[in-house]
Amino acid sequence: MLRVEGLHASYDGMIEVLHGASIEVHEHEIVTILGSNGAGKTTLVAAVCGLVPFVRGTVRFQSEDITSLPPHAIVSRGIVEVPTGREVFPDQTVTENLLLGAHAYRSDRARVRRNVRDMLERFPVLGQRKSQLAGSLSGGEQQILSVARGLMGRPRLMILDEPSMGLAPILVTQVFELLRDIWREGTTLLLVEKLAHLAITFSHRLYVLELGSVALEGTAAELAGDPRVEEAYLGRRAWAEELAGAEYPTESP
């Protein structure tokens, strides 16, 4: 469905962030990109969406070359990205923000209304504040709104950059339950996630990005058993030791 080949990317034409990264996402798959700070994960998904100015290599979506398309044309092909950093429209209400997410099928009023109602019910935090301006929400609430607005689009491929960031544990659970429902309804998912244990239980396949290129790839089962992944990304044993030191019960991932 999505095939990224040999992607080089740079924001200023001087410093290169990606050095030939290649990934593939098949129809009806959940794929996650792991990686440490500054490895280029956000740049990779931003480049897919046409948001990085200097790009070499190819990005194909359903065999069409979309490498040099402008962002709105990429959205109209059925790719929606929920960026990290809570980019909501602060001067519009929660409901209006959600409506903007339904732009692609705005003529189908009944469907728009149904999906808005669905989001407000699924996330009581938003339901209780539906007429409030988005700018008055707390950071975490804005994050939820940004995810919910992306999900309103019901795209073919949905890209989420760290959907769990800044969310209380109970909301992380809710967001991932919702993502699974969306996936069941036919949306393919590509995620960037720092919480590796969550990503591994949730995804079919994963890529590990290091220093701007793909260092490891495999199915969830393969990577879960890989000692390199355990040490560099999961840190389960380290946490157990750390918590044992503090004499508190381990949080099961």
Binding site: S10, Y11, D12, G13, M14, I15, E16, S36, N37, G38, T84, G85, R86, V125, R129, Q132, S136, L137, S138, G139, G140, E141, Q143, E162, M165, G166, L167, A168, P169, I170, L171, V172, T173, Q174, F176, E177, K194, L195, A196, H197, L198, L211, G212, E231, A232, Y233, L234, G235, A238, W239, E242, L243, G245, A246, E247, Y248, P249, T250, E251, S252
Partner: protein, 595 residues
């Protein structure tokens, strides 16, 4: 050749210009261009460096010009004294110009300063007994030094000398403590206040410095021209000055002068070739500035810098790979902190309440933080955690309740004063100074510990202090794992790197209390572990930490005490183990775990 030596060479070249143009008219024209270059540097200081738009600088120039001319004509003051008085009065008017900037920003500030320029222009036209009205002043004595009047060569030399001094001072200011405060306020007022920088003083300081420069330019102009009228300072001249600063590049203190030279130079210095330009001055340069800004958003100076950078890179390796630019783990070195004797209750919060409109964000919140402990604040999204941090740091004023730090009430203090007392913080959505380098961000964080105001900055004093502070800043950057990224601009860093940089900036304050808002966000598991160990080392060094975080393993392994907020109220409080098992906390916050 060092950049400093290169700069001095450029300034020296300015002094030679009067000898390049040999006829009298050109020398007078050069003095005129010099005056406008100085005035445009004033715009560069307030709009570029301090980020406060001004569309009224012709009014400030006029204040200097008419004061100096009036004192010389009516009271017979010698040039030097009249010049100084004109500069001083313009600086005073600059205070009035700066006051709106404390309340409004962006286009509203532009309108307010535009109005200020209009008012001055009208006063000059109406107060004809003092200013000569529309007719203005004639036969203003030419500039004189030591009792000798200066001819065309002397006037042009004086203008170029003053221009060189202004540029030298503006360049010094940019890199000084005061200039960093200006730029910090421009990039993030919240971040600046949290670093102990008074937003109020920085904005007014920017306007005053800028107004003094514009006033000096006006006084110089009056005496070299010998004749002034209000029409020479009408609002279109304000636009010309802004145009010059934008064309030259707002990101550089030299942009204004370069822009003025580009705009006025051809028609003034080569009138036979470019006389047609003068008539279309604004019309012709508007589209050019638009084009330049479209192509080079940071103006001609920025464009040239990039061109030079690319030429150098072309000779070298070409595109840089980013391999060495990722972060390292935190080092075992702990930056110095302010130690409060353990056992003391450092921070006491009593009954803090805060509402936004009808929404109650905090309801009667009380808690105590003991010195040398790590205290975690957890709770569902929207439960008021960040609002509480805002009330503790003065970023928001609570409606009711008391906050005391070591027995001292701080809830009515402005944020920069609370920071100066040793309370540092980070933000959930980082509030860094985007256009400043990592090192400069950390240096700005040390603001209350360093010395040196506007004057010292302009004169380039206290460089020694700064180089010591820079050494400390590099050590702190290394401690948080950002070694090698010292010269990168904050805006070019990844989210995780920015979070680290903000932590470094907070530590630069040498705080006694550190408030962290979601410090683990943007980090993967091993990096979160590293952060936890780093914070424990800080605790061992005596630092007190209050943090908001959602990562439960992190909180459980780290915190001495946990307070749980829900809908603005404290619903649980105690050691992590008890709080973790509290059914209400499980229900509202933790949930059953991720499926």
């Amino acid at each position: 050749m060092t950049p400093d030596a290169r700069r001095r060479l450029w300034f020296a070249a300015l002094l030679l210009l009067p000898f390049v143009f040999r006829d009298e008219l050109s020398r007078f024209a050069l003095a005129r261009v010099g005056a406008f270059a100085i005035a445009a540097t004033g715009v560069a200081v307030v709009s570029g460096l301090a980020g406060q738009i001004s569309l009224g600088h012709a009014g400030l120039m006029a204040a200097g010009a008419f004061t100096s001319a009036g004192l010389a004509v009516h009271a017979g003051w010698p040039f030097a004294a009249a010049f100084v008085a004109g500069t001083a009065l313009a600086a005073l008017v600059g205070v009035a110009f700066g006051i709106p900037s404390l309340r409004v920003r962006g286009q509203y500030l532009a309108l307010a300063t535009l109005g200020g320029g209009f008012i001055i222009w009208q006063i000059l036209r109406e107060a004809s007994s003092l200013t000569g009205g529309d007719g203005g002043f004639a036969s203003i004595p030419p500039p004189s030094l030591f009792g000798r009047s200066l001819g065309p060569l002397g006037a042009a030399s004086l203008a170029m000398t003053l221009a060189a001094i202004t540029l030298f001072a503006a360049g010094n200011l940019e890199r000084s403590r005061a200039g960093r405060a200006f730029r910090a306020v421009r990039d993030s007022e919240a971040g600046a206040a949290a670093s102990g920088i008074s937003v109020y003083r920085a904005k007014l300081g920017g306007f005053v410095a800028s107004a003094a420069i514009a006033g000096a330019a006006g006084a110089l102009f009056a005496h070299t021209e010998g004749f002034i009228a209000p029409s020479q300072f009408d609002p279109s001249i304000s636009f010309l000055l802004v145009l010059a600063a934008v064309l030259g590049g707002l990101s550089s203190p030299y942009g204004g002068a370069l822009g003025a030279l580009l705009i006025l130079g051809p028609s003034e210095l080569f009138p036979s070739a470019f006389s047609w330009l003068e008539r279309y001055q604004i019309i012709a340069w508007g589209p050019v500035a638009l084009l330049v800004v479209f192509r080079w958003p940071d103006g001609v100076v920025g464009g040239l810098k990039r061109l030079v950078g690319r030429l150098r890179a072309g000779r070298g390796t070409g595109v840089t790979r980013e391999t060495e630019r990722t972060v390292a783990p935190e080092t075992p070195v702990v930056p110095p902190v302010t130690v409060v004797s353990p056992g003391v209750t450092l921070l006491v919060v009593r009954g803090v309440t805060k509402s936004f409109g009808g929404l109650r964000a905090l309801h009667d919140v009380s808690l105590e933080v003991g010195a040398g402990t790590i205290h975690a604040l957890i709770g569902p999204n929207g439960s008021g955690k960040t609002t509480l941090l805002d009330c503790l740091t003065g970023a928001r004023r609570s409606d009711a309740g008391e906050v005391t730090l070591q027995g001292r009430r701080i809830d009515a203090l402005p944020p920069h004063e609370i920071a100066s007392l040793g309370v540092a913080r980070t933000f959930q959505q980082v509030a860094l100074f985007g256009t400043m380098t990592a090192t400069e961000n950390v240096l700005a964080g040390a603001h209350p510990r360093l010395r040196g105001g506007l004057g010292a900055g302009a004169l380039g004093l206290r460089r020694g202090d700064d180089s010591n502070a820079e050494h400390d800043a590099r050590a702190i950057l290394a401690a948080v794992g950002l070694a090698g990224l010292e010269k990168d601009k904050a805006v070019a860093l990844s989210y995780g790197q920015r979070k680290r940089l903000e932590l470094a900036r907070a530590l630069a304050l040498r705080p006694s209390l550190l408030l962290l808002d979601e410090p683990a966000a943007g980090r993967n598991e091993p990096e979160i572990l590293e952060l936890g160990r780093f914070l424990k080392r800080l605790r061992s060094a005596g630092l007190t930490i209050l943090l908001v975080e959602h990562h439960m393993n992190f909180v459980l392994s780290l915190a001495d005490v946990v307070t749980v907020l829900d809908e603005g109220r404290v619903v649980a409080h105690g050691d992590p183990r008890t709080v973790r098992a509290d059914p209400a906390v499980v229900e509202a916050y933790l949930g059953a775990g991720v499926a």
